[in-house]
Symmetry: C2
Subunit: 437 residues, 2 copies
């Protein structure tokens, strides 16, 4: 089987996966989900002209010659409705967010006034009509589409959903994901310590990568290198939307994953990608009966949706090497899962950086180099390798801020070259404010 390029492998995967079905969630539990419906404004917002400041609602024509002293006819605070009309020579004391009274066409902020008495105020500044007034519907008009289907629910979006009083929302459901590790050499996290075993770290690193996407996976455990045991575990995994199987997928005579998984009806789409680390990584698809997963969510007796009662299952065979497993997850599993959850933004954020040192490279495959990011004086990024890029050094994955992507045709990179770095988890925040105030 030939080696696919990273992007052709991504393309192959994304052509197979599609958005999952829709479920209803409460606003308080919706962060990070994707809207499966269009959302409209349920009222004009603001519902009337409101003051943008604490101050006085005035007739701008009264201020042709300032300073001018105006009579205060009313006090209006947010939540009040004005009772009087502002006539020539009059004004109303008004708070931020309070409705602008009839007759007034501008607001003067309190800083530009001088209190004369409880009933009159001296205005020291002329303003244009509309000054410091937020117009009816400035934020949104009743019936207007404020959020389109496919919008990722961020805190700002939750603010809008609360503004239009949507306590319950239609969103795409999250995939159910199972994780399986394979190999006789592996020792489980809660198993008795044996200094000559290899601890099962992949299941937990993958778990955390999934959790960072908002998915709580099931860990199936460790399947030993026995075709029957492996088949039993894989069968369990194929009851989920996605199965991640790490290890045992190489070409060696003792690697049972590929033949076993194919015997279970999984159609392998690719088995080789021209990347480092990452070899071997595979992707396949099959279908499962919809029965038991539906039954846990829906009342019994309901007819099954659609013509046939099956659902897609996607299988990723990831390398047993911990670094390779994580890098393959970044490139292939993340875009697939995010598409299933309805996202438009499928890929890790990238930034441009200056390479701090030369990197030797043989062409032929895309390389992902673990790097730490720091800053130049002008605020731009500098990328420095975490050190040895042996895929056995998993500590470097814990230290890295990102993966520097070296194109497959590169013969090496020079110090100072501009490079592209994919940001990893843990880079949403930085240790300095990073701006001039």
């Amino acid at each position: 089987m030939e080696y696919l390029s990273v992007m052709n492998a991504q393309k192959c995967i994304l052509e197979s996966v599609k958005k999952l079905d829709v479920e209803s969630v409460r606003l308080e539990r919706s962060l990070g989900r994707v809207l499966a419906e269009e959302v409209r404004a349920n009222r004009d917002q603001p519902p009337y002209d409101v003051s943008a400041m604490d101050g006085y609602a005035v007739r701008s024509a009264d201020l042709a010659n300032v300073s001018a002293t105006l009579a205060i006819i009313e006090d209006i605070k947010a939540g009040d409705m004005p009772r009087k009309t502002v006539q020539a020579g009059q004004c109303a004391r008004i708070m931020t967010g309070a409705p602008v009274p009839q007759g007034a066409d501008a607001v003067i902020r309190v800083e530009d006034t001088l209190a004369v008495s409880n009933n009159s105020v001296q205005i020291n500044r002329a303003v244009q009509p509309g000054n410091d007034i937020r117009r009816l519907g400035e934020n949104m008009c009743k019936g207007e589409v404020v959020l389109v289907a496919g919008t990722e629910i961020t805190p700002g979006v939750i603010g809008i959903l609360a503004t239009v009083k949507r306590a319950q929302l239609q969103v795409y459901r999250r995939p159910r994901v199972a994780i399986l590790s394979t190999g006789n050499e592996l020792e489980g996290l809660d198993e008795i310590f044996d200094p000559y075993k290899i601890p099962n770290s992949n299941s937990y690193a993958l778990m955390a990568q999934l959790q960072a996407l908002g998915i709580e996976p099931l860990l199936l455990g460790i399947a030993r290198d026995d075709p029957d045991e492996l088949a039993e575990y894989l069968q369990q995994g194929l009851e989920f939307d996605v199965l991640l199987a790490s290890g045992g997928s190489s070409v060696g005579v003792h690697d049972y994953v590929r033949p076993t998984i194919e015997a279970l009806g999984v159609q392998m789409k690719f088995w080789r990608v021209a990347m480092k680390p990452g070899h071997p990584v595979a992707f396949g698809t099959t279908q499962r009966a919809e029965g038991w997963l539906r039954s846990s969510r829906e009342p019994p007796g309901l007819p099954l949706a659609g013509e046939n009662a099956t659902a897609d299952v996607f299988v990723f065979c990831l390398p047993g090497n911990p670094v390779s497993s994580m890098v393959c997850f970044e490139q292939f599993v993340i875009p697939a899962l995010r598409r299933m959850m309805g996202h438009v933004r499928l890929y890790r954020r990238t930034v441009q950086a200056r390479l701090a040192h030369a990197v030797n490279m043989r062409p032929g495959r895309t390389e992902f180099i673990r790097v730490v990011l720091s800053r130049d004086d002008d605020g731009s990024y500098v990328a420095t390798s975490t050190g040895t890029q042996s895929s056995g050094v998993s500590l470097s994955m814990a230290k890295a801020d990102g993966l520097l992507v070296v194109p497959a045709d590169s013969n090496g990179l020079a110090a100072g070259e501009q490079v592209t770095v994919q940001l990893l988890d843990g880079t949403v925040f930085q240790d300095v404010a990073g701006f001039r105030e």
Copy 2:
């Protein structure tokens, strides 16, 4: 009271807050937390020299003249221990991760060999000693510190913790945070619709900003503009580690928050920051009796830690305006909460971008302009305003990728200028892979 600069306000806050106490969590629930202990390797990793490839363990001296045909004396897979010593003219079939047998000093990958029979193989390539062998302890040596206290627990770190078999960890606890909205004009999410009310969106946007930090807050609800009712709500909020009170904190005669909160013993540290949006934003501190919160976590009868049974409480009074409230949370609340949780990275990640258009500006305060990020041909960022920067337009906060920071001394920015953009939530992923493969 004078206006503080943004950074002096941040400094004032960070001088007050400190790391919270430590709690024990299970590895599976530790993502995003911060280690409160140093972690050491519990064994050499790998525990012996292992093969990095599927292939043959050989004596490199045997390959002085290739091709050479070697006798296969054994099959070694991961999890096996070799039983034989490789002698001159011999080799062992070996799988990735399997121990290298006595006598062998290199591994030849299967691609560089030709099967002759089940018992012999033709090797077509000479290699140096050590080829494709991962040395004992290459990743970590027993007793070595692999993670220092203060490390943020990312998926890569979880991989390391699983590697050293730490199922249970000491981490800094998360702050307990309460959210209060104030104002007669507000309508709660589940209250009956009144077209002339202002929906309470701030509580939910703040909730989501907290959730994005891994904190599940308590929403206290809406306090009306009545000093007694407000005092009752604020008193409830002061039983938490952090109270966020939005609205009612202006200088208007109907704004009761400041006097009421001071009457409850909160020492206000500042009340004014020279920023837009964001005015007014305040920060204060007080203490609470430790009683009830401890009792929910610890067995009764335990002596209280420390000399006195009080704990710090931090109060942020945020603007009632939804955009201002969110921007103030970004600048002031995030660094405080992240410091409490033990993080070293306290601030939002910033990127440099080219400004797509001119921006008019009056100097005197730091401005935060909501922008969308796109890409230039060379992969660098371009920042474009979301449109009107009226703080009443909360829709623009839902659309924004980041906040462009305009320094307080700026008279305006020209199109094409390099600017600094703070990334907001929802920017961890992007819609294109963004690299050349």
